[in-house]
Structures are given as structure tokens and as C-alpha cells.
């Protein structure tokens, strides 16, 4: 039985909410709906960036007047604070000065942009909506806490804090070493390389180095100057060039067969279409039909069974 069956939740959007705040609230509401809550949303048709986003974030919700006394309200920072139990989402923490921000500029302010891309080119954001949706997850966890605790009051989620929380390793390292990670492009230790039929994610741990060398089969990697991880990191671009040269004629399946046998955490880059049809996705029923599309179900199995997404 879904955990929040029959719990009424109001998803209250304001036209003055920033798009990222709207998306965070809607993502949180979508999860709560999949967990059985009756979520009523006042989101307008044109609230979301496109029809696909609206479909994905609106599944399972009702529209119209909310329950008379919802157990919990999900509201944006632009709405007036009420007396109800609520999770409030805003771009910035409570009491911050009113500075114009967007999800993208918050990724810049939290250091996330500085981590991805080529150092000679512009920094890159995570795929669209990721900071908003991570904030939606934080709102969900706070909401679950308020429901379980049976407590009144408000929880607050700011996209700024969520972005900083995601990027925590940068600040821990900066404190320890005086330096923080920075985007390295082709010089990064982990990255995506081209192969015969697409791309492969070169992801490996220190203990995997010998297996990576065996996969590549190039004597240049036997250079003692690659034996220490510190040296490999400094010469990542050389390693990447050698690996990419040697895997150019190999398929993702061929490379992954070796990786699986030798427990190297490589990953084939799958297109969105390939993800849906991938045998692992199919075996786990990871995608479900919704309004004529195949969309990912809530990413959890509850005693081995999925929680059903309502239409």
C-alpha cells in the first residue's frame, strides 16, 4: 500500500514564482503523488518549459480547488506565508536580499558550472532542470519528515543551498588543500570517449588501472610515469588520447564485455531511446506507459514491486 495514501497535499504555484521554483515544487508533488498522496496543483498549462516537461511533472495530480484542509502545502517563495504546514521553495534562503537569479546563475554561484566542460571554453550546466529537481528531492524529503513527524510548521528549501550541498566535496577539498576541483575537459580523469558505435564512459578507480591497461593493450601505458594516480591525473590527456585511439574500432558491447569480466566501472553512453529498450531497463520495468509515452516510473521497488504512477 502506498505510504501516503489519502493524504491531501496542495501544490500552490504563483505566477511570480521563478520557473525553477515552479519546477522544484512540481517535481516534489509528482513524487508524493506516486507515493499515494492526493496532490492538487494549480499549475497553469504554460507553467513549464515545454509539453514534455508538463506531462512528466503533472502525472497523477488533480487540478482545481484544493482540499479544504490539506495536510501539507508545497508553495513557492513568492506566495505569502500561511499558517499551514508547508514546504516552501525559493531560489535563495529565507531573509536573503532580493537579487535577480535563475537556476542557471545559481549553478554558477554554487560552483557547479565550474566543474563541467573544457577549461578553454564556457562552463557547462547539468542537463536542464537538474538543480530545480534536486531541490524538488530535498522538498520531498522535508515533506516526508513533516508528515511522519506529524508536526506543524514550515520547512524551507533554497536552490542555492541545494547547489552548495551537491558540490560539498569542492569546499571540503578547498579547506584541506587550498585548491578546489575545476573543469578539466580532455584532461579529466573520468570522461566520455568515442568508440566504433558511439561513446563509452571511461570511469575507473585506482585499483582498476592494470585492468584498464589490459583493456587498451597499448605498451605506452606501461610507462612507469603512469604508475601513480597523481601522475596519471596530471597526464590524463595523454591517457585519454591513447585509449581513444585503441578503442576506435571496438564496439560498446565489446568494451563492456571486457569491463564486466574485469570489474571496471565503465559505462556505455546510451541515448534516451536506447535507455528505454536496454535489457536492464526492461527487466526491471523501469519505464511505464503514460499518456502515450514511455516514462520512467518512480525509481524505487517497494518489496519488489513498483509504485504505480496514476494517469
Amino acid at each position: 500500500m502506498p505510504p501516503f495514501l489519502s493524504i491531501d497535499i496542495e501544490e500552490r504555484h504563483s505566477k511570480d514564482d521563478e520557473p525553477a521554483v515552479t519546477e522544484a515544487i512540481a517535481f516534489c508533488g509528482r513524487i508524493l503523488s506516486d507515493l499515494g498522496a492526493r496532490v492538487v496543483s494549480n499549475a497553469a498549462e504554460n507553467t513549464f518549459r515545454d509539453a514534455r516537461t508538463r506531462l512528466f511533472l503533472s502525472l497523477g495530480k488533480a487540478h482545481g480547488a484544493p482540499a479544504e484542509r490539506p495536510r501539507l502545502a508545497l508553495v513557492g517563495g513568492a506566495s505569502a506565508a500561511g499558517a499551514e504546514t508547508s514546504v516552501r521553495v525559493a531560489l535563495l534562503p529565507e531573509g536573503s536580499p532580493d537579487i535577480p537569479m535563475s537556476e542557471f546563475t545559481l549553478m554558477a554561484a554554487t560552483g557547479l558550472l565550474d566543474l563541467i566542460g573544457d577549461p578553454a571554453r564556457e562552463p557547462l550546466r547539468l542537463p536542464a532542470g537538474q538543480l530545480a529537481r534536486a531541490a524538488g528531492l530535498a522538498a520531498f524529503t522535508a515533506a516526508a519528515g513533516l508528515i511522519r513527524g506529524g508536526v506543524a510548521g514550515s520547512a524551507h528549501v533554497s536552490l542555492l543551498d541545494v547547489g552548495l550541498w551537491l558540490n560539498w566535496k569542492s569546499f571540503v577539498l578547498a579547506r584541506e588543500t587550498g585548491r578546489a576541483p575545476h573543469r578539466l575537459g580532455r584532461g579529466a580523469e573520468w570522461q566520455v570517449l568515442a568508440c566504433r558505435d558511439g561513446f563509452i564512459g571511461l570511469v575507473y578507480r585506482e585499483q582498476d588501472w592494470d585492468a584498464v591497461k589490459a583493456l587498451v593493450g597499448d605498451p605506452r601505458l606501461d610507462d612507469p610515469g603512469f604508475d601513480l594516480r597523481a601522475d596519471r591525473k596530471a597526464r590524463s590527456a595523454e591517457i585519454v588520447a591513447i585509449v581513444e585511439e585503441r578503442i576506435a574500432d571496438r564496439t560498446r558491447a565489446d568494451i563492456m564485455a571486457f569491463a564486466s569480466a574485469h570489474r571496471i566501472p565503465l559505462g556505455p553512453v546510451l541515448t534516451t531511446a536506447e535507455v528505454i529498450d536496454d535489457p536492464h531497463s526492461v527487466a526491471r520495468g523501469a519505464f511505464v506507459k503514460a499518456e502515450g509515452a514511455l516514462l520512467p516510473r518512480l525509481p524505487v521497488l517497494w518489496n519488489g514491486s513498483p509504485l504505480e504512477t496514476r494517469p
Binding site: 553512453v269 516514462l295 521497488l301 517497494w302
Partner: protein, 375 residues
């Protein structure tokens, strides 16, 4: 507010995803007991450094992710250790684990064993690819999952190849902890309202796909990489005169009202003509969202956080919470290995001092003195 007051969590979580999940539960008020073995400690206790001379340094990553927990050391490979753990399970509410699939059953503490010990237990299994399926045993890190979940396909320059968030962010690991904590709270609520024991099979791969769920509605579409957003006339990073990058999101109305950022070319020229801070000040004064693409060092200096991070009195930087529920953060100190073994066995397990002494002598559990010997 302490929403999880009275909830006891046995935390078998290691490294980021599992340990960070339990840390959030501690911040929500749960009593979290980190369980390690005299033969296997959380690898995060070891400094993740690329330099051999740092190998023995205490890990700041461990401290940042395990504060506010107690620690018990018990050898789960020994039958007596397993019995000891199951005795604790009988008196606990939640078990969190992110071992390699199959390890829990091999140790004799799989879901059925836990359920036999406690018919109301919640087991959260946080794994890379889930409990089942052909790739369940494939070793994966966060960026592996970005590749197989479709996220890498959507990330990159609009004229380039797919890419991943990389070792320094490992994005799927971070969001997994937030979602897993929320699901555990939800399951605790269900059990308290009459549900039987719950096993949560939490696949980071599936979560990563769910985070980009709308992209599957039109899976054949050309991936929208780069920094643009259809809700803004212009959104990108542009280089300022001092070499720093300025991120900006310009709405249609602002693009019309402010011609110097009305087109990508005009904006690039205008920002290139002035230092980044000056450009950001002018843009934000005009009501346009703008910020410098900050480095980790700059952010550490500015400390712009509310709840996300914590600076201890001695200057250490710890993870806080991605939400503010008005609860003071749990203790700031991470536990030493096995530091609370005696207290936990006595209070939660109901063991006598004599029984505990025997368990220590037999090497089944470890307390600080014996833990030092195990270093």
C-alpha cells in the same frame, strides 16, 4: 522540529550514497548507529588522495559525511557477529546499506533474516543498478550511471560529444542520498501505520533517468545540450575582460529593454569589455539574472550557505542539509571506529558488561582499545 525522533537507524552505508543518506536521517532527528567491521571499515575513512604520502591522513570526506552518528564495530562474517547485529535489528527501525549486491544475503542478514528479527523493519538497499536485472552486478560509480541512464547523452556542448559530471561531482551519488532519505522516512511512516516490513530497492541508475524523465517523452529528439533554455532569450556563460566567466539568463522583455544583452553577440562584446564583477553588478541592477561562475575556493571564502554546509569552530567544513526544517544539525563530530560499541550494545542490544567483554575478547566486536589494535 525533529521528525524522526525515536527512530533508530543501523547504518551499513559506506562512502557517499549510503553514508550521506543516514547523515540526513540523523539531521532529521534519528539515532544513527554506523556499523563497521573489525575486518572492513568504511573506505571513506581513508583520505581519498592522489598522493601516496597522504594515505594515512584522516579523511575530511568521512568527517563531512558521518557527523552526528554513533559507531559500532562488529564482525558480520562471524555467526556470533551476525547474531549480535540481528539482536540490534530487533530493537531498531531502519537498516541502510549500499554494499555490492548479494553481500547482505551472503552475510546472512538479507531482508528475510532482518524481517524474521523484526517484522516492522525498513531495509533500504541503495545500489548502483538495483537488486535485479542483467546489470545488477556491474560495478558502477556515479558517472557510470550518468552514461547508462541517459544523462550523459544530454550533457555537453551543443556542438560536441556527450559528457559526464565527473569524479569531482559524481552527481548521481549526491541526489541518491536525498531521495533515499525521503523514501526511508516514507517507509517508516507506512510501517507505523500498519504496513509490514519494507524493503526499498533504490537504484541510482533509475533515479538518474527519473531526474531527466521528461526527455524520454520524445526519446528520438536531438539532445538539447549546451546552456540555452527556451524560457530565456539568452542563457549562457560569457567571458569577461578579466578572464572570468559570467553566467546570465536574459528574459525576452529584458533582451528588448537592454540591447547590450539583446543578442548573443552584443552580450559577448559588452561583457568582454569589463571585469566580471562589474558586469554582474550592472546586470543584476537592471533586474537581469547574472552571476560569476565561482570557484570552490571563492565560495569557501564567501560562505554563502544557510544550511548546506557547516564550518566547525576549528575550521573544518562539513555537509549540512539541503533543507531547513528548523532542527539544529546533529553533532558535528564523526565517530571514531567502534567508538560507541559498548554503549550501543548495552543500551540498544541489552547486553551485560560481561557479555560485551567476552565478545570483545573473542574478536566479534571492537571497542576503541581493540580498534586501535586493528588499525
Amino acid at each position: 522540529m525533529t521528525p524522526l525522533k525515536g527512530v533508530t537507524v543501523l547504518d551499513l552505508g559506506i562512502i557517499t550514497a549510503g553514508a550521506a543518506t543516514s547523515a540526513l536521517l540523523a539531521d532529521l532527528g534519528a539515532d544513527v548507529i554506523k556499523i563497521e567491521s573489525p575486518t572492513y571499515k568504511d573506505p571513506f575513512r581513508i583520505w581519498v588522495s592522489s598522493s601516496p604520502q597522504d594515505r594515512d591522513k584522516l579523511s575530511p570526506h568521512f568527517g563531512a559525511t558521518n557527523r552526528g552518528k554513533k559507531a559500532l564495530a562488529v564482525n558480520l562474517k562471524e555467526p556470533e557477529g551476525r547474531d549480535c547485529f540481528l539482536r540490534l535489528v530487533a530493537r531498531a527501525d531502519v537498516v541502510v546499506e549500499n554494499f555490492r549486491r548479494g553481500v547482505l544475503d551472503k552475510l546472512g542478514i538479507g531482508f528475510e533474516a532482518l524481517k524474521a528479527a523484526n517484522p516492522r523493519v525498513v531495509l533500504a538497499s541503495i545500489s548502483s543498478q538495483g537488486e535485479t536485472g542483467p546489470d545488477a552486478m556491474h560495478v558502477s560509480y556515479g558517472s557510470t550511471l550518468e552514461c547508462v541512464a541517459g544523462m550523459a547523452w544530454l550533457l555537453g556542448y551543443d556542438d560536441g560529444r556527450p559528457t559526464v559530471s565527473g569524479v569531482d561531482l559524481n552527481y548521481p551519488d549526491q541526489v541518491a542520498a536525498i531521495f533515499a532519505a525521503g523514501m526511508i522516512v516514507s517507509a517508516v511512516h507506512a510501517v507505523e501505520n500498519g504496513a509490514e516490513a519494507v524493503h526499498l530497492d533504490l537504484s541510482q541508475r533509475e533515479l538518474t533517468s527519473f531526474m531527466i524523465g521528461d526527455s524520454f517523452a520524445n526519446p528520438e529528439a536531438v539532445p538539447a545540450r549546451g546552456n540555452a533554455d527556451p524560457r530565456f532569450a539568452l542563457q549562457d556563460c560569457l567571458k569577461a575582460a578579466d578572464g572570468r566567466w559570467v553566467a546570465l539568463s536574459v528574459r525576452e522583455a529584458d533582451a528588448v529593454a537592454h540591447p547590450h544583452v539583446g543578442t548573443p553577440t552584443a552580450a559577448a562584446e559588452w561583457i568582454a569589455a569589463r571585469p566580471a564583477d562589474e558586469a554582474v553588478d550592472a546586470l543584476t541592477a537592471a533586474g537581469i539574472a547574472a552571476a560569476v561562475a565561482a570557484t570552490g575556493v571563492e565560495i569557501l571564502d564567501a560562505k554563502p550557505w544557510s544550511t548546506a554546509m557547516i564550518e566547525t569552530p576549528d575550521g573544518a567544513i562539513l555537509k549540512g542539509t539541503p533543507f531547513d526544517i528548523g532542527t539544529p544539525h546533529a553533532d558535528l563530530v564523526a565517530p571514531v571506529f567502534g567508538g560507541d560499541t559498548v554503549e550501543v550494545l548495552e543500551r540498544l542490544g541489552g547486553y551485560s558488561r560481561e557479555e560485551i567483554r567476552t565478545l570483545i575478547e573473542r574478536g566479534i566486536v571492537a571497542a576503541p582499545e581493540t580498534a586501535e589494535a586493528a588499525e
